[in-house]
């Protein structure tokens, strides 16, 4: 009832905590990882270097970030592939 009243009065209520928790989680993870933006950048460049030998990718929409899942940290990369490169066949 109070919530409804507050909503009618245009007051925001009841969800900013979840936003805060999520932001805190991410910011702490980054802080604790001790990965500087420079290191993240150079990681991104190196990954790019390897991948572009095999695939043509869309660099502008490439996303690389650290995610924590059930207490473990994962490096998640989303790299849109434009087309496969024709590789010289071995043998």
């Amino acid at each position: 009832m109070l919530d409804l009243l507050q909503r009618l009065l245009g007051k925001e209520a009841g969800n900013s905590k979840n936003v805060a928790t999520e932001r805190l989680r991410l910011v702490l993870m980054h802080d604790r990882m001790d990965l500087t933006p420079q290191m993240m950048d150079s990681l991104r460049r190196d990954i790019l270097k390897v991948i572009t030998d095999y695939l043509e990718i869309d660099e502008t929409s490439m996303e690389i970030a650290l995610h924590r899942e059930k207490g473990s940290i994962a490096l998640v990369a989303s790299i849109p592939v434009v087309r496969m490169k024709r590789l010289p066949t071995c043998v």
Binding site: E12, A13, G14, S16, K17, A20, L24, L28, R32
Partner: protein, 267 residues
């Protein structure tokens, strides 16, 4: 021989000075010999919160540089025989003292006190290093906000990496149960889970803190102050008593006032 506790937080404005003043006063109320030590050189405030600002003659830097004896610089609180304050210098900066001098000073203070409570400056530089040099236990103050918890995490990391204080304890300050209830504030469990250190106590947001600071009388002296009550409980935990966390999830200020009128105080 007493113990030296440093009250620290990383972030400014979360209540380090208020916490130091209240815990020190609460411990003195229980009869312990307490020395409050303001290490925030250049931005001293503990004297004002304690209401002792007009009695300062010498300060911390005067002591460490040998301009006066320790006994001359200590200000005895008139409310409690066993409570005194060593104020910080206001006209110097943090480089006026070094960690070695602080260690020596803390050793000396410990001789005449059961508890030495240090009010640490915000930040992680020289002032923080000075304040932690002579301490054997750290109390980390934070509020339920992303920025404050983040800085507390950083401080905990530094304490564990660079000092002997492997098990700092947490004080969650300015907690607002009503906001938590409606989902607009980080709750105790969130903060505990992220920082992963022992929770020493929760202090509710309370207007009586502002009133007490206005007057220079720590809130623990006011029996009706919720925050004061929380600080008294924390003081008892510091001296090793097993005090349950006070019922912070109250039914609003109104019900509480009624309970208080009826003499059924919570917590």
């Amino acid at each position: 021989m007493g113990e030296v506790l440093v009250v620290t937080s990383g972030k400014g404005g979360v209540g380090k000075t208020t916490t130091t003043a209240n815990l020190g006063t609460a411990l003195a109320m229980m009869g312990f010999r307490v020395i409050l030590l303001d290490t925030d050189i250049g931005l001293r405030n503990l004297d004002v919160v304690m209401g002792l600002e007009n009695r300062i003659v010498y300060d911390l830097v005067d002591v460490t540089s040998g301009r006066c004896r320790l006994k001359q610089a200590l200000i005895r609180d008139r409310r409690f025989e066993c409570l005194s304050l060593l104020p910080a210098a206001q006209t110097k900066d943090k480089t006026a003292v070094n960690p070695e001098q602080m260690k020596v000073l803390c050793e000396e203070l410990k001789q005449d006190a059961d508890y030495v409570l240090e009010d640490c400056p915000a930040g992680i530089e020289q002032g923080f290093k000075n304040a932690t040099a002579g301490a054997s236990q750290a109390l980390v103050v934070t509020t339920p906000e992303v920025a404050a918890v983040r800085d507390a995490d950083r401080i905990i990391g530094l304490l564990q990496a660079d000092t002997e204080m492997r098990h700092p304890k947490l004080i969650l300050n300015r907690y607002r149960p009503q906001m938590v209830k409606r989902g607009d504030m980080l709750d105790v469990e969130d903060v505990k889970e992220h920082l992963a250190i022992e929770l020493l106590g929760i202090v509710p947001e309370d207007e009586s803190i502002i009133v007490s600071t206005n007057k220079g009388e720590p809130a623990v002296l006011n029996v009706n102050s919720r925050a004061g009550e929380a600080y008294r409980n924390i003081a008892r935990r510091i001296m090793g008593e097993d005090v349950p966390l006070m019922d912070i999830e109250e039914n609003g200020a109104f019900m509480n006032r009624i309970r208080r009128l009826l003499g059924l105080r919570t917590g």
